[in-house]
């Protein structure tokens, strides 16, 4: 593992209020890393500190080996940022926004044309090149921001709630770009999201709550550790099924139309039921989701689709 982002004992306080409380984590180069958490968990504070906008209170934060407090300009050169709120220059056209960005990041003049064409192609907005930003829809603006965040070829792209407030189709598109970039250009993606299904795509998920990281692992591991698979069994012979389940010490809940059984391993359940196949009429197994993980760890539902 080659960490591109290293955070050690990072704390951020506003007066007496502690927004982020002594967190440490690493992000592997070329991976997609997601911050999950309810509003006010400290996600945006962390992302803003990594982007050199906020000053840390304590701790060390490094991106590509450079310190975000003492080597601000070095860090700024190697990151791209897509903020929650639009930061596009609405008075200008899409192309002019991209050109201005190239000036800010000193992209060599002979490469500017090529790069503009490339990023616009990527987010499928080539035809909108000469349109004023104010004339674009919300989803298009977000795509322009992503294009702009990439045009200087950053090592890490920060995305703060990149899909919030967008329709499902646009959300899916944005995820296509993100995954494509990670795969093809090996750009590390650091994002925050409210959407659990989106977090499933990521390589690594850190769950934040009350300024602390309460879990940090691959989605698969998180689910394995914090959730149980749930089996829904329908039967015509309830007494026999109940007897069978009790015999194997499996806890169950009886519902009007089915039995619900929480199991540690699906093969184990299959073995139990295998002996008496004719007892059951139907079996459905649902895997635990990140939402269950979140619920299990924090004791609360994550609010979907809101602003943080």
């Amino acid at each position: 593992m080659n960490p591109i982002i290293e955070v050690q004992n990072f704390t951020k306080r506003y007066g007496k209020f502690t927004a982020v409380d002594d967190i440490s984590f690493q992000v592997e180069e070329g991976s997609i890393f997601a911050f999950l958490g309810p509003n006010g968990a400290g996600k945006s504070t962390t992302i803003n500190t990594l982007c050199t906008i906020f000053e840390k209170t304590e701790g060390t934060l490094r991106i590509d080996g450079k310190d975000v407090s003492t080597q601000k300009n070095e860090v700024r050169k190697s990151i791209g940022v897509v903020f929650q709120d639009s930061t596009l220059d609405k008075k200008m056209t899409v192309e002019e926004n991209l050109r201005m960005h190239c000036v800010f990041y000193r992209v060599p003049k002979r490469e500017v044309e090529e790069r503009i064409a490339f990023v616009l192609e990527l987010v499928e907005l080539s035809e909108w090149r000469r349109k004023r930003v104010s004339a674009l829809s919300g989803g298009m603006k977000r795509r322009v921001e992503i294009a702009r965040g990439l045009i200087h070829f950053p090592k890490v792209l920060f995305l703060d709630e990149p899909t919030t407030g967008l329709d499902p189709q646009t959300r899916a598109h944005i995820w296509e770009y993100i995954v494509k970039l990670q795969k093809e250009k090996n750009i590390t993606m650091f994002l925050t999201t409210h959407y659990m299904d989106e977090a499933e795509i990521c390589n690594q998920v850190a769950i934040m709550d009350g300024g602390k990281i309460v879990a940090n692992d691959r989605p698969f591991e998180l689910k394995k550790q914090y959730t149980k698979d749930r089996a829904y069994i329908t039967t015509e012979r309830p007494e026999e099924l109940e007897r069978l389940l009790r015999a194997h010490n499996l806890e169950f809940v009886q519902k009007p139309k089915y039995y619900r059984v929480d199991v540690d391993s699906v093969p184990g359940l299959l073995q139990v039921l295998g002996d008496q196949k004719d007892v059951i009429t139907d079996l459905e197994v649902k895997k635990g989701t990140l939402n269950d993980v979140f619920l299990e760890i924090t004791g609360k539902e994550i609010r979907e689709g809101g602003e943080s």
Partner: protein, 277 residues
């Protein structure tokens, strides 16, 4: 330096694209010339139109420069400033870009007024005067660009800025001698004009553009291009020095203020100014 020019180019584009604003900023001065020109007729002045034109042209430079250099406040509230802040661009070049934009666009607007003035009988005898006029406009532009950015960085919110800007620029414009001769004002207001930097800009610019630099001091005082304060006479040259001091002070103050401002605490509205997230 590239950033400075790129920002200037951007502001220039925006200025030209906003057609209603562009047309208004050209029509308004001529409207004022029409309304106020009768006031300027007195025994010493042969051509009140030229006097008006010079005054209004420089007042336009003042107005436009201030508006452009303070447009930073729009960029802050629209979020664009955040994009700038996470980029490796120095804040100094952002401030520089705003100053240059203000001076360049202000001068362009002022020149348009004078060119229109040619139709109304404005004349210069020497081609050199044209160069002096442009130089004087650029100078006045930079002087007030600092002032504009200073107002923008210290007020921080769009709504407050509009009120503050009106409260400062309106009296400055009308108590400068550009629209109404200083001598026609009540005594108290006459005293206030002496503290108004725009008064000196108007006096200096009239002396340059109307080619009155060589006139006897007595006559300069009557024409209002030299200003008496007690026993001391502020000649156009001294006016230029006063402006230089004022301009340098505000360019410095605004640059410092701009570099120190914590933009992370600024947002669309005061309500979500602090983001705990």
């Amino acid at each position: 330096m590239k950033t400075v020019f790129a920002l200037c180019q951007r502001n220039l584009k925006d200025f030209v694209r906003n057609k209603p604003r562009l047309i208004l900023s050209i029509i308004f001065p001529f409207f004022f010339i029409y309304v106020f020109s009768s006031i300027f007729q007195n025994e010493y002045i042969e051509n009140p139109i030229s006097l008006m034109l010079a005054g209004i042209a420089i007042a336009t430079v003042f107005d436009v420069t201030l508006r452009i250099s303070s447009s930073t406040i729009d960029d802050m509230s629209s979020g664009f400033m955040k994009e700038v802040l996470v980029s490796p661009v120095s804040r100094l070049s952002i401030a520089g870009g705003q100053f240059l934009s203000g001076a360049v666009i202000g001068t362009m607007n002022g020149m348009i007024i004078l060119l229109g003035g040619v139709l109304l009988g404005f004349r210069v005898t020497s081609p050199l005067t044209v160069l002096y006029i442009i130089a004087a406009m650029v100078f006045v532009g930079f002087v007030f660009a600092g002032f504009g950015l200073f107002m923008a960085t210290t007020t921080k919110s769009t709504q407050t800025f509009q009120v503050v800007s009106m409260a400062i620029t309106m009296p400055m414009t009308f108590l400068s001698g550009a629209y109404i001769p200083v001598g026609d004002l009540p005594n108290v207001l006459q005293i206030i004009t002496r503290f108004n930097p725009l008064t000196y800009a108007v006096a200096m610019f009239r002396s340059v553009s109307l080619e009155w630099g060589g006139l006897p001091l007595e006559q300069q005082i009557h024409l209002g291009v030299s200003i008496e304060i007690g026993n001391f006479v502020v000649t156009p040259m001294i006016s230029a020095l006063i402006l230089l001091g004022f301009g340098a002070l505000f360019l410095l103050l605004s640059t410092l203020a701009f570099m120190r401002t914590d933009f992370s605490k600024m947002s669309r509205s005061a309500g979500d100014a602090v983001d705990w997230g």
